[in-house]
């Protein structure tokens, strides 16, 4: 059996220690043992979100938490400003529309990021807007948004700032409270080094206030039912217990490394990848690259799908492009438990692949 190098932006590799924590005999969730674990996780995970707010956990993919951020804060006919710079910005827009929320889109070219002045302008033109939806890292283009600057313009308005930090959290710098983020969303299968199945949502006081007036229907993702998970240790529905046990291990591993160091390691690995690619004569796609993953332009004359497929025969799994970037870019994740050695190996195989496909590599 050959080791597979899974360098995709979710699922990302799951370390042995976390697998082991999830393989322990299952325990019941209405016990003090489980409640203590959940309480400890909340204390720890806040430090990764850089917030004093409680971090609620859903059994769902990240999309479930994105939906929750809409249905728990808005009412039918409300206006929301949605930045669309890739597939996940588009998803926020689709969710808003599915629930009857008016979308004021701010479309940015894929691979670039919104300027905070554009959001300021939209907020002035639409003083009725109750929320601004953005990404920390737009996974489809591997682009880092300037959440800090956007936060500084949103925080002076009535609108809340909702940040999909699913792929960026842990890899890109993120300071929920300091930057004025009202809802921050995370997912288990990225920097948290877990299998997919859990989504996280931290909610500011401003967002809770807005939530109190929200009239959109909700039940499974009703935040008010989850607030008790943390305060009373009581889960509204049966949680994905094994994944939560893995989460306990994952957050303690991150805190053991130190959140700053954990993030800095991502920055170093990302810089290494970008430098290596540049050394190979390849071009990074994004103008503002994230440290969670790197998108690479497919060199002229080559087929992106063929690169990804050939890499796969070498047991290195990259992600292709999404939407109109299909075949035009491919993406290498360097998040969570992906090591420098994994990346070195993958880049070596990429060199081989490009040569095999007839591309001259520097």
């Amino acid at each position: 059996m050959k080791k597979q190098y899974l360098l995709t932006p979710g699922p990302a590799p799951v370390p042995e220690e976390i697998m082991k924590a999830m393989s322990e005999p299952i325990i019941h969730h209405r016990t003090s043992q489980y409640r203590d674990i959940v309480w400890k996780i909340n204390q720890d995970i806040k430090k990764i979100f850089r917030t004093d707010a409680n971090v609620l956990t859903f059994t769902s993919s990240g999309t479930g938490a994105m939906e929750a951020s809409v249905t728990n804060t808005l009412s039918k006919g409300d206006t929301a400003i949605v930045v669309r710079g890739g597939k996940f910005g588009e998803r926020f827009s689709e969710i808003c529309r599915a629930f009857g929320v008016e979308v004021v889109p701010i479309d940015v070219e894929w691979g670039t990021r919104p300027h905070h002045a554009a959001i300021e302008k939209a907020l002035k033109e639409h003083p009725e807007a109750k929320a601004v939806f953005i990404q920390l890292c737009e996974t489809s283009t591997a682009t880092l948004y300037d959440v800090k600057s956007i936060g500084s313009v949103v925080k002076n308005t009535r609108a809340i700032l909702v940040v999909d930090a699913i792929s960026g959290l842990g890899a890109d710098e993120f300071f929920m409270d300091e930057w004025g983020v009202d809802i921050a969303i995370g997912g288990s299968q990225k920097g948290f080094m877990l299998p997919p199945g859990l989504a996280f949502l931290a909610v500011s006081g401003k967002a809770w206030k807005l939530a109190a007036a929200s009239k959109l229907p909700k039940f499974y993702f009703d935040l008010k039912r989850y607030e008790k998970v943390v305060t009373e240790g009581d889960s509204p529905w049966t949680p994905a217990i094994t994944l939560v046990l893995g989460l306990g291990k994952a957050v303690s591993m991150i805190l053991d490394e130190g959140v700053d160091k954990f993030v800095a390691r991502h920055a170093a690995d990302a810089a290494f990848v970008r430098q290596s690619l540049s050394g190979m004569g390849l071009e990074v796609f994004s103008k503002y690259p994230s440290d969670a993953l790197t998108a690479i332009k497919v060199p002229q004359g080559l087929d992106g799908k063929k690169i990804v497929d050939t890499m796969k025969t070498k047991s290195v799994i990259f992600a292709g492009g999404q939407g109109h970037l299909k075949g035009k870019i491919f993406r290498i994740a360097h998040m969570g438990a992906i090591t420098r050695e994994d990346l070195e190996h993958a880049l070596e195989k990429l060199k081989e692949t490009l040569a095999e496909l007839g591309h001259k590599v520097k």
Copy 2:
């Protein structure tokens, strides 16, 4: 370390083989390897639902699938008939109301079941009703409903029959197609012997037709997006991959044993438990006991919580009562991977416990 006997109606114990399948290095979900697994699961799991319909899988608790059965079939202001014979019947009612669906409740005493004539009557009085919501096994009272008879009256109307079979499936006899069930809901942490985190939903042609006219807002649980999972092997959002790999193992274990034999084993174990309890002078709470779990009346003069707590000190985990049955009943699950030996051990410890608490045991 003492072995813990987890005899709760979800989570139930997870066999080693399934734990192992979930501990394999994680794979990506947009690969032919994963698609083949999902395709095979669908072929197998249909045989457990006894249906030709595709069985869709959500990353959520069973409640998510219950919500989906409402939001995908109904519109605001629609009428639904909801049987309320316990906590989970009440949950359907709460979900309907959260989404603006008018509820015609059929309240039955907890521990009993609805007569199909009552549903027939409600359908005649409310010809506008578009759906009837019931349980197969009402977990809070361990009561088996007569789905077959109810199906025979609903199938001649315009209404669909939605059955929460979360705790009953695999343990109690269930024939989705033959009995005229339109939506059948399952959950991973019961007879399927998995950790919690997946919910299943099989949808009849009649229900798909109703779904086409449904106007309730939905996104994460939008069934139309999941139909492709089976037909094209493509998941709308990142699925809980490790749990799905476990599911592949679980359904193949059930088919290896044989669905009939699997169900018959539950019937035999349930009969054994009921007989043993009766031999101990204890009374089964439900008038129509399910084969998934048994609810026992707390003997006069004893405190139900104390029984459950004392059992816990002996490493046997029972569930207490819910709602107004708190302290009045306790529940022993005999579903999935729970063995006869586990049950014998638990009943022996129950005898000890009752004696310790001063109750005369036969």
